[in-house]
């Protein structure tokens, strides 16, 4: 019997143990299936009428869960519509379902799934996923192996899904959205900072690019100046060569003239020589005549000698005949003979002298004629010599001019060479790639930077085309770009990428035509600027911007949800307390009224808080819109002022408004301006326990200056800095006495700035504070 009882106990224990483990193994799949079914039951999809069957998609390899879900779908329907369960490991077709369950082993796909289905009206259920920002409903593994889940309402609402309230009751918790929001804001701020840094970098890069572009422009200008100088010098040269040609023509004409005159001169010389010859002949004739005269003279002398010998003979005969008669006869004879001789001699001489005289006269005449002729010839000769001199002089002058021209040409040529050299160095050492291709596409110039970056030398590329130097693809691209410049005759800008050892590098290529004096293209010149750094930072910036934008979208969705979700329950709290206090639902006693009043006050405080938080969030997200319209500033301020009269009276503080009676018109956002003054006067009343509060309003040409002067607790110097920062009610110890969000001043400051005004504060501890608001009219 004992044995039997013992056996039974062991059996029961064994059975219980087995069943227990079995149920535990089965339980999780079944519980998750059941939960999934119940989630679906408590979620409403958009346009559910149009849905014929509900598709549940399991992403992952949990076969037992799939089986359990499939068996569930066979027995149950959802709002009378069948459920279809499918499993997949790929992410195609995820958008055509109503519910997606991601198993734990597939949680690495969750981010991708979340992005794919965002806003698609699909419920995403995950298992044990850690990042609460990316969940809608998530199962949590608890220490005791029970299954619980958490809900992120914001994400569900974002999917246009509607959740029933009951969902929380069966084991769910809600994700702390405020915490998520804070985290989101922090990461947004970080991203914004990163974006700012990158933006600064970009700005710097842009400014260096600007600088370089300016340098290039300057070099371009210099180039243009040099070119224009060269063309001017060319024009001068052309003119001078024309002048030279003209003077050469003149010279050749003059040379021709000289040659003609030379000819005339030669002819005249010839004539002169002829005349000389004639003169010599005359002279010969004269000498012949002289010789004849000499002969005749010598004959006369001979005859005279003969006569003298005859005389001698006569005298000897006288000696012989001593007789006077003889002698007389002889003397008479002698006298007679002498007389006759003398007479003869005298006649002959006379003829001779006459003849010589005639010849001499003729000769003289001839001589005179000759001399005259010679004189004439000499005159003519002198004239032609003078003409020759003049011509030689003009030739000399022209020669001088020519020499001068040649000198100026030399100077111009030197200048030209210098400027060419200058240009070449400017291009060679420019910090960008410079290259020139002729019309055939051959390289005719590359600078040092080109050699360095392309790892080639000028000798290696000169007279080669792109096809011989680069890959086919790149060469064709370069040729096409060059052709565009040639066909349009206009500069072109291209952005090109090149594969280098260190990765892809990006270049801006500026190609422009080089024109000759006839405006025809003879080459294309290119400048290449490496912009890889800029490209990379642009890319980083773009990514950062996308991240920031997605965070911003999340924030906006969050704001909208917060605004709605927080106000909905407050609506019924404030509504019902109001109705109760009105006594519509029945009479109340004093204590009930007092307590309800407290509840109502707290609810309103909560509402103020929500409104302030929303305002500050809107301002920070730059979603706050102000609208400028004209309104009466006096009325607005008086209205605000009157709101505080009862409280001031209660606290026994003197509240005073100083404003002119004349209407002050202002163009601003009335609601926001009154919000600013509500905040400031409220603060003054809150922090002042005795004394007075003065609101003093002065109008200038352009502004309205309003001072809120209180005799309250004041603000110490060290607290001034954080005064206008959100959530910083200065003295933490005060918060218990002074209810408030700590957002009022921060909102006021931001609103004032948004309305193009300023807000400032002066204060002394235990004396009071003066807040000054300046708003443009």
């Amino acid at each position: 019997m004992k044995f039997l009882i013992k056996f039974f106990c062991v059996f029961v224990f064994y059975l219980l143990f087995l069943t227990n483990t079995n149920t535990q193994q089965l339980q999780r799949n079944e519980i998750i299936s059941a939960y999934l079914y119940n989630f679906a039951k408590n979620i409403q999809w958009q346009n559910e009428d149009l849905i014929k069957e509900f598709h549940f998609l399991v992403i992952g390899r949990d076969e037992s869960l799939i089986k359990s879900l499939q068996s569930l779908s066979k027995t149950y329907t959802l709002r009378n519509k069948p459920i279809i369960v499918s499993a997949s490991e790929s992410l195609n077709n995820v958008t055509n379902v109503q519910l997606i369950f991601v198993t734990k082993d597939s949680e690495n796909k969750l981010v991708e799934i979340f992005d794919k289905i965002e806003g698609e009206n699909i419920l995403l259920v995950s298992d044990g996923y850690k990042d609460k920002q990316l969940i809608m409903i998530n199962f949590k593994e608890m220490a005791n192996e029970t299954v619980q889940f958490e809900i992120n309402r914001a994400n569900i609402i974002n999917q246009h899904l509607r959740i029933m309230e009951d969902i929380i009751f069966w084991g769910g918790t809600e994700v702390d959205v405020a915490y998520l929001y804070k985290q989101g804001q922090q990461s947004l701020r970080k991203l914004q900072k990163q974006a700012e840094v990158l933006e600064n970098k970009l700005l710097q890069l842009e400014s260096t690019i600007d600088l370089k572009t300016k340098q290039i422009q300057q070099q371009k200008d210099n180039l243009a100046k040099h070119n224009s100088k060269i063309s001017e010098q060319q024009i001068i040269l052309d003119k001078q060569s024309n002048l030279l040609k003209n003077s050469e023509n003149n010279l050749s004409k003059q040379i021709e003239k000289i040659e003609e005159q030379q000819k005339i001169f030669d002819i005249k010389s010839q004539e002169l020589e002829d005349q000389k010859e004639a003169l010599e002949r005359g002279k010969e004739l004269l000498s012949e005549l002289n010789a004849n005269i000499n002969k005749q003279n010598s004959q006369i002398e001979k005859q005279t000698k003969v006569l003298a010998e005859q005389g001698k003979t006569i005298s000897r005969q006288q000696d012989y005949m001593y007789l006077l008669v003889i002698i007389i006869i002889l003397v008479i004879l002698l006298v007679f003979v002498i007389y006759r001789g003398y007479k003869n001699k005298q006649g002959l001489s006379k003829i001779l002298v006459q003849k010589v005289k005639e010849r001499t006269r003729e000769l003289k005449k001839l001589n005179e004629e000759l001399e005259e002729r010679v004189k004439e010839r000499t005159l003519e000769l002198q004239k032609s010599i003078e003409e020759l001199n003049i011509t030689t002089k003009s030739i000399k002058e022209t020669n001088l001019e020519l020499v001068k021209e040649i000198e100026t040409r030399k100077i111009i040529e030197e200048k030209l060479t210098t400027s060419e050299k200058q240009l070449e160095s400017i291009l060679s050492f420019a910090p960008i790639l410079v290259y020139i291709n002729n019309i055939a596409g051959q390289y005719i110039f590359v600078n040092k930077e080109f050699e360095k970056l392309m790892e080639v030398t000028f000798e290696e590329v000169v007279n080669k085309t792109d096809l011989e130097l680069f890959s086919k693809e790149r060469a064709e691209r370069n040729i096409a770009q060059n052709q565009k410049v040639i066909s349009t005759k206009q500069p072109q800008i291209f952005e090109n990428a090149s594969q280098k050892k260190g990765g892809t590098r990006y270049f801006v290529d500026i190609l422009f035509p080089l024109l000759d004096s006839n405006n025809e293209i003879y080459a294309t010149c290119g400048w290449s600027l490496d912009i890889t750094d800029r490209k990379v930072s642009e890319q980083i910036l773009l990514e950062a911007k996308e991240r920031a934008e997605s965070a911003d979208r999340l924030k906006s969705a969050f704001l909208a949800t917060m605004s709605h979700e927080l106000r909905t329950p407050l609506n019924s709290i404030i509504g019902f307390t109001g109705i109760l206090m009105k006594g519509v639902a029945g009479p109340l006693n004093d204590e009930q009224l007092k307590q309800l009043g407290m509840a109502k006050g707290s609810a309103h405080h909560l509402l103020d808080l929500i409104n302030d938080v929303l305002d500050i969030s809107k301002i920070e997200a730059d979603q706050l819109v102000v609208t400028f319209t004209k309104f009466n500033f006096n009325k607005m301020l008086q209205k605000v002022f009157l709101t505080f009269q009862p409280i001031a009276k209660n606290k026994n503080i003197n509240l005073e408004l100083i404003i002119s009676d004349e209407d002050i018109e202002i163009s601003s956002d009335e609601r926001r301006v009154s919000q600013i003054f509500l905040n400031l006067i409220n603060n003054a009343v809150k922090f002042t326990d005795k004394g007075s509060i003065k609101v003093d309003c002065q109008v200038t040409d352009k502004n309205i200056i309003t001072k809120i002067i209180d005799s309250g607790i004041g603000i110490s110097c060290k607290d001034m800095d954080k005064l206008f920062k959100p959530f910083s009610q200065v003295d933490i110890g005060l918060t218990r006495n002074h209810e408030g969000t700590g957002l009022g001043l921060s909102i006021s400051k931001k609103l004032t700035e948004k309305l193009n005004g300023t807000i400032s504060v002066e204060s002394e501890v235990n004396v009071g504070s003066i807040f000054t608001v300046i708003l443009p009219k």
Binding site: Q44, R162, A560, S563, R567, I573, I574, G575, A585, A603
Partner: protein, 130 residues
């Protein structure tokens, strides 16, 4: 004859509060908890004024307003949007969809009826006065 008010509101507590407030002021209340239900109720009952929430299941308040305005008989019926949406552009969107008025939640029970009355046509105000 009582003034007929159609409330289209999905939150049961808010619905209860609004109908209680209106009934206590002697209005006839028709309740609709979704947009489609609201459109049908408007066509069938031809209310004097419609109070419309924006966040509604299946079809949002903007669409509901547009659909109501498509009906010839409801072209002039005042539609007052009562909503807790407070983001920039919400109000403009409501008026673009055909709304006559806009009351922000949370409502103030002391002034709500007065606010609503201001959107009623003149003759109806006289009738209520009677």
């Amino acid at each position: 004859m009582k003034t007929k008010v159609l409330i289209i509101e999905d939150n049961e507590k808010n619905m209860y509060m609004l109908s209680f407030l209106l009934r206590s002021e002697n209005y006839e209340v028709i309740e609709a908890f979704s947009g489609i239900e609201g459109i049908n109720a408007a066509i069938n009952n031809e209310p004097d004024i419609i109070l419309l929430d924006i966040q509604l299941p299946e079809m949002n308040g903007y669409t509901v307003a547009i659909k109501i305005r498509e009906n010839e008989k409801l072209k002039k019926t005042p539609i007052v949007v009562v909503t807790s949406y407070a983001m920039p552009g919400d109000k403009e969107k409501a008026f673009e969809s055909g709304a006559t008025g806009y009351i922000e939640k949370p409502i103030n029970p002391d002034t709500f009826i007065l606010q609503m009355k201001s959107f009623l046509p003149h003759e109806l105000l006289l009738k209520i006065g009677n």
